[in-house]
Symmetry: D2
């Protein structure tokens, strides 16, 4: 049901992030190992920060593995903050407005997972979206509704609190409709400076999520590794599944927790939804 | 802002309806003469009744003039009730879920025109949609919202009354938001047996709409005309603009009126929106 | 590297052929079991005979599993002779002109496999195509070049001889370029009345190919099977991999052989390429 | 039959080139004034030089006016050498491999016009392409064949001579087939440093072509013009039709001539095809 990658660090060509790794996101579009589906071919999207405050977003309904434009972009776009996502639809149409990452102003958002029985709870959730934000919703996915709920609950001020309130609401509405496990997923969101990544599911069996080991540590272990030498000390990847099998490079994000990739020390903290009052 | 065609009569190849006429809908996709835009290239759709009670719908985001699959279908699908639509977007994304005709059960619906300042009134209109129908809305156009409002107001029982109540609501909500002329357009809808076609705008300057002259009359005038000889007596076309310049073949639908193409005598009646109580 | 299906028999809805079987071609687009790749998501095509002598062809660059138009067509097109193909590109672009089946007049052609090092031998093979046919070649695949060579060598008069001469040429040209195993594949071709299906590879390790057991026999074994009761006695499927696990329903086509599905008794014969003089 | 734009100068956002001008190339995709067709909606392409020696190329089969990815790219890609092209097909399929600009190594090429009765002369022209280049041809247009002929005739060493020999061959082959006016068009090609632009037709009635006035001159006339202040002294545009109605800004390229935009003084010279010996 989707795979994603978030990168923050020294500016890299998208090619280094999307195509070069052994088990790159492009490879995962055909051969995902830890996802629910082997194939993630229902479109994809890439968002990056560069020329302006507003991130650019390239989205396509084609499978990532055969999209020639993505390959061209990857060789010509360089960025220090990138979100990329490959989609395996759980039923909603394959169209650009349903591809991640979603954008609002400076913010990007992507999600792997689902709101259970979304069609049954959609109207109630959409009603909870701030009416001023409502007209910006363009697609029909649970993930985009989720994003606009988080914005409604203050994502731009306090991302962990906003996501906690959103999942709290989703669980509350879902349970009212008799759903046992209303939420499932991993999320990445960014304002162009920090990245917040969440791993949580109502059932306690969340989709996989990993973060990369500190680059200085890795360079010490692998002094010959070409890409590691090029990466700045601050470089960090958060990914649905490891991009290769470099020993020591990948660390699982624990259940019910979130991490912050930011200037200075990154953080990893427990996550608990906050039910509506 | 779109052009459309509705046909009821003896089964014809789509090719006869879509490609053969001198100023066919395909020609109008590049060279509309009476529309707001010369080009209607933001996708298209065709719906037809055939193998089952549920009509089939083919939709594409490509311009109709260069879509090869449409040409193939046109040569191989034969139907006695067809709705076809070419789109010129007024801002909402070019995606299949925004292409007309829209479908609900046995019903098809298409629209040329717009709800003024739709983004400002969308939430209020969406709230008025029957919650049981709400999950079926897949796209983001004013036209689809309009369809589901009409279904909410009883389209399946009394189409003219349901459309009158829907436009009444659209005008009422629009005016509350300070919109002078909230609605504009022509609409065709069908249950697979009859076609209802409406022409109305709040301003009294509606998009063009024409219906074809009774086939028996036309055959008497043009005894040599090949297609006319093939058409059954009941054949009727309702179109945004005439498909050619055959004298006597096309009659303008008057402002603020609607027609019914049905078994027995077709009808043409005045139309007045019905404001909410 | 592609999967395909050919059907001849009483007219069926495409839905019965493409979606209803447990391991349908649509399922194989995501989960092929006997193919080189699990995923066959680089476009697809369906050709069928119906309204006119010239077969209709619907092709798309989308994966078959998420194409909504295919689903619509499948519910509304009925035919007694159908070729369907899902593609896994071996490098040539994903575009409609590279999707199978290819068409020339009344003939359709599809292929699973490849001409080895095609880029190196393409020019020489293209030169061997009848100059009168040359302008009809629209795409860039080995499979289409192969088709036009077969037409050049008399496909319309004697399909097995024409295919034998074509593969003979491909092997001869390939070996001149130092290719050990120049040809690999299964092929289906039809004139709208009979189907010829070939299984051959220079190496003697051809892609899988199966044909269905005589319907009368199957009906005797499975008197409760609904689809079998609906099928006419003449119904025959030739497929890259079985559409389900019905015991006794599927028979492997032997290496280096071809079959003919035709009025009267079907045939299965050995196949040997015929080198150029 | 297509419109194009070539820019060389100080690095600009694609947005400044493609969207900001009053009668931009995007506007021309819907409302061309000097082209053969009002609508140029059969795909488009943009090539630019940036991160590497090899230019990047973004191509789409969608109309340029509704392609959201192009808008995103335009806001995030900055380049000092850009070729952009919008297509109106003269019959060959709408697919990415038929979109301009075409690329070979460091070179880009685009064309507005046609080789008359291309299907009849295609085989003979393709045979004249260097066999080493032949496998690189991916699409089916006259324009791409033309490019590979020019490469065969030494484009990389002497562009004007190579184009003269190519058109000489096209005219010679065409006339052998009884074509009165074999070639028509304007061409732009670049190696990433200079741009060569040609205007020629066998009939002497070529498609329109304009080049922009020296920026220093324009700045003196329009001291308040914002974009002119941002442009470097070397900036030059060559376009199928003027991007606006700024008096004095646009100069027609004369019939049968070519220009070179290069470091130092640009040139404008007469052009004569060179028939085969």
């Amino acid at each position: 049901m989707c795979r994603w990658l978030a990168y923050s660090g020294s500016p890299l060509l998208l090619d280094d992030l999307l195509y070069q790794p052994a088990h790159s996101l492009i490879d995962q579009s055909l051969h995902s190992e830890l996802g629910v589906e082997t194939t993630n071919g229902d479109g994809f999207g890439v968002g990056w920060y560069g020329e302006s405050d507003i991130p650019a977003v390239y989205k396509s309904t084609e499978p990532a593995w055969n999209d020639r434009n993505l390959r061209e972009l990857a060789r010509s776009v360089r960025s220090g903050l990138v979100l990329a996502h490959i989609r395996a639809s759980t039923g909603t149409p394959v169209q650009q407005t349903n591809c991640h990452p979603f954008r609002h102003g400076r913010w990007l958002w992507m999600h792997n997972g689902s709101i259970a029985r979304f069609q049954d709870v959609k109207r109630e959730l959409m009603l909870a979206v701030d009416p001023a934000l409502y007209p910006e919703i363009e697609g029909s996915t649970d993930s985009e509704t989720f994003f606009f709920l988080a914005l409604t609950f203050g994502l731009e001020d306090d991302p962990p609190a906003a996501v906690a309130r959103t999942i709290g609401l989703v669980e509350s509405v879902g349970r009212k409709h008799g759903v046992e496990h209303p939420f499932q997923g991993t999320i990445a969101t960014t304002d162009g400076e920090s990245i917040w990544a969440f791993r949580y599911s109502s059932e306690g069996k969340s989709r996989s999520l990993f973060f990369s080991t500190d680059v200085r540590t890795l360079r010490a272990i692998y002094p010959e590794h070409e890409l590691l030498q090029r990466l700045g000390d601050e470089a960090r990847l958060v990914v649905s599944e490891p991009l290769g099998d470099l020993k020591g490079a990948w660390n699982e994000v624990p259940e019910s927790s979130y991490g912050v990739v930011q200037a200075g020390q990154d953080e990893l903290r427990p996550f608990t939804p906050r039910p509506p009052a």
